[in-house]
């Protein structure tokens, strides 16, 4: 699905009024809530129904740390967002939640936009193992660090990974300075 906009901040992805829920599901109704009121907005176009890859402009996901932005995209059915550049916190959140964020150069994004706008049924393939995006006869490599790729491919629980180092945490705590802040 082509989203020809840059600086799509997390307030656009999901406005704050949708953050009041204490549960983890059902955030798709808040996705791009303000923009969806426009019948011509790309999410409302039947040609792109069921798309699992969103292709957006630079600085996608800037602003607030709300992980609800990732949940809204995932709950709606997106598996991948492609953009020239992402906000750091959003990118971190997305990789933790299994929403793959792929950085491609602006020119590649323009090519993808042009292609899927001309022919909405074009298949775009994102190959996490090969770190490659393929569309028609074109392909672009993308970078993703080995550690994040491994976590995504294996679907690993971050807390479980960290708790392998619990002894190191305990040892670290034993040598923290005595003047450090204690809340209670």
């Amino acid at each position: 699905m082509p989203l020809r906009r840059s600086n799509v901040d997390t307030d656009q992805i999901i406005p704050a009024v949708y953050l009041k829920r204490v549960t983890r599901t059902g955030f798709e109704d808040g996705l791009f809530a303000a923009w969806r009121e426009d019948p011509g907005f790309v999410l409302n176009r039947p040609a792109y129904a069921g798309a699992s890859i969103l292709v957006a402009g630079e600085e996608f996901g800037t602003g607030s740390s709300r992980e609800h932005a990732v949940w809204a995209l995932s709950d709606y059915g997106f598996r991948v967002v492609i953009a020239p550049r992402f906000g750091d916190i959003f990118r971190g959140n997305s990789l933790k939640q299994g929403l793959l964020t792929v950085e491609l150069p602006q020119a590649a994004v323009e090519t993808l936009w042009d292609t899927v706008e001309q022919s909405p049924t074009t298949t775009v393939e994102v190959d996490l193992a090969a770190r490659e995006v393929r569309c028609a006869d074109r392909s672009w490599a993308f970078s993703l660090d080995d550690f994040s790729r491994w976590r995504l491919m294996e679907g690993l629980d971050d807390i479980g990974l960290t708790l392998r180092h619990e002894d190191a945490i305990t040892a670290f705590e034993a040598q923290r300075p005595s003047y450090g802040v204690v809340v209670s």
């Binding site: 600086n7 307030d11 204490v22 906000g87 450090g180 802040v181 809340v183």
Partner: protein
């Protein structure tokens, strides 16, 4: 080897380091609020995990609270969210400052005012403006809910080493130009993505001269240009501000802490990956005209012509922004009339900000048809302001004196703009609909906010 301030803080918090993996960092303080924590607590319960260090964790209620009273949350969904935080804190033994508590307030005002934020610490919170705490010379950054759960369970976070960026602000701010003008001008100069992947250190004579409140305003908006964190070296201003606060070390501990803190500033010869220069003496009151914090201009300028920008992406963004903001290119910014003036938020809701606004508005009246809201950043700031009589200055001018909270910064609680309304706001984000669906936001300093309230159009104190 010479190291930067941020590298020193980082190095002293590495719990585990291995090739090809992010460093595992220890977190000294974890701040919680009602919006980004409920799903994290649920995650803990589902996995049968506990909060590892409730004694390094503290919560407050701020985002989704009313500011017209302390007792009644009329929206049932909001009430559930607040009650969920209270239940979670009780269950896991976490200190909470709820509505009505003398220390309740915006999380990034509440922490520093109690002396919880100290140099050299690692501080996280499920809120992007956690960068605020970097003003004390610690490494402080915003995290998502998965990471909130991770810190609750392990008191650590895996983190990839960021790049180092120095912002050198030379010269001296002219009279009437504030920290807010400085950071707005900087973001406008470098753009909203310039800090990405970096921790930033703000340095130079203009930064050294800022008060702690001013430094917090600067560090607060680091995220608005994409930086992970924004640090300022601790110095005598920092220590004077901290000494005697509730959680500041005392006696011998204070001396030990001071020794450590004095070792933190960046070593001479330390290398930054990149540098940005800004001359403070050239700055004037600065406001935003668009829908991201980088779309700003001096108050004396006019709404820019979108076609004047150098890249197509910027031109497209500016066209859309000018249309959303209902502005015409070429209109002097001083001609832009506002409906609402909001003074508050984690950016500008501290005592010094309220004093600045009060000094400007003293003896004047809020213009007809303009609503001015003063929302102290915390209950303690509110009490201090009242002890100084500031509330009387505001109410005499016709402004609303409200209770502490995030209020109109984020369009979540009852304080919102109506569709089409235009605000001058001391907050940090002018995104489309940020302060309420269809609302239009101009980011300004507290001094400009107060002058704007009097004139009814964007204005500086010198215009009164």
């Amino acid at each position: 080897m010479s190291r930067t301030l941020a590298q020193k803080v980082w190095d002293t918090h590495v719990v585990h380091r291995a090739n090809g993996e992010p460093d595992l960092l220890y977190i000294d303080l974890h701040l919680l609020h009602e919006v980004t924590s409920p799903q994290a607590f649920d995650g803990l319960r589902m996995a049968g995990r506990k909060v590892r260090r409730p004694d390094l964790t503290i919560a407050t209620e701020d985002h989704n609270t009313p500011t017209d009273n302390l007792l009644t949350i009329s929206d049932p969904t909001s009430r559930t969210q607040i009650e969920t935080l209270r239940r979670n804190c009780a269950e896991f033994g976490i200190r909470l400052h709820p509505l009505g508590d003398p220390e309740q307030g915006v999380v990034h005002v509440m922490g520093p005012q109690q002396g919880l934020t100290q140099p050299g610490m690692t501080i996280v919170c499920g809120d992007s403006h956690t960068s605020t705490h970097g003003a004390f010379g610690g490494l402080a950054f915003g995290i998502g809910t998965s990471e909130v759960e991770h810190v609750l369970a392990t008191q650590t976070l895996p983190q990839t080493t960021p790049k180092q960026l120095a912002v050198n602000v030379t010269g001296e701010l002219p009279a009437g130009v504030t920290a807010k003008d400085l950071i707005l001008a900087l973001i406008s100069k470098v753009g909203t993505g310039a800090g990405r992947g970096h921790v930033v250190e703000y340095r130079g004579s203009a930064i050294e001269k800022l008060s702690m409140e001013g430094r917090m305003t600067v560090s607060n908006m680091s995220i608005e240009w994409g930086a992970k964190a924004g640090l300022i070296a601790p110095d005598d201003t920092t220590y004077a501000w901290l000494e005697g606060r509730a959680f500041a070390p005392r006696g011998k501990s204070w001396e030990s802490a001071l020794d450590h803190w004095r070792s933190l500033p960046t070593d001479p010869g330390a290398v930054f990956d990149s540098q940005v220069e800004l001359d403070a003496s050239s700055l004037t009151p600065f406001v935003t005209w668009g829908t991201n914090p980088g779309q700003g201009a001096p108050l004396s300028a006019s709404v820019p012509d979108p076609e004047s920008f150098s890249t197509e992406a910027e031109r497209t963004a500016a066209r859309r922004a000018v249309e959303y903001m209902a502005l015409s290119p070429g209109t002097p910014l001083r001609d832009v009339a506002v409906d609402v003036v909001f003074v508050g938020s984690c950016t500008n809701g501290r005592l010094e900000d309220l004093r600045l606004a009060a000094d400007v508005i003293r003896g004047h009246k809020v213009a007809d048809g303009v609503r001015m809201m003063i929302v102290p950043g915390s209950a303690a700031v509110r009490a201090q302001a009242e002890a100084e009589g500031l509330h009387e200055v505001f109410t005499a001018a016709g402004a609303e004196w409200r209770f502490a909270g995030c209020s109109m910064c984020l369009g979540m609680n009852p304080d919102t703009l109506k569709p089409g309304q235009r605000s001058a706001s001391t907050s940090n984000r002018n995104f489309e609909g940020r302060q309420g669906k269809g609302g239009r936001t101009h980011l300004v300093s507290p001094a400009v906010a107060a002058a704007t309230a009097v004139v009814g159009r964007l204005a500086a104190p010198a215009d009164l």
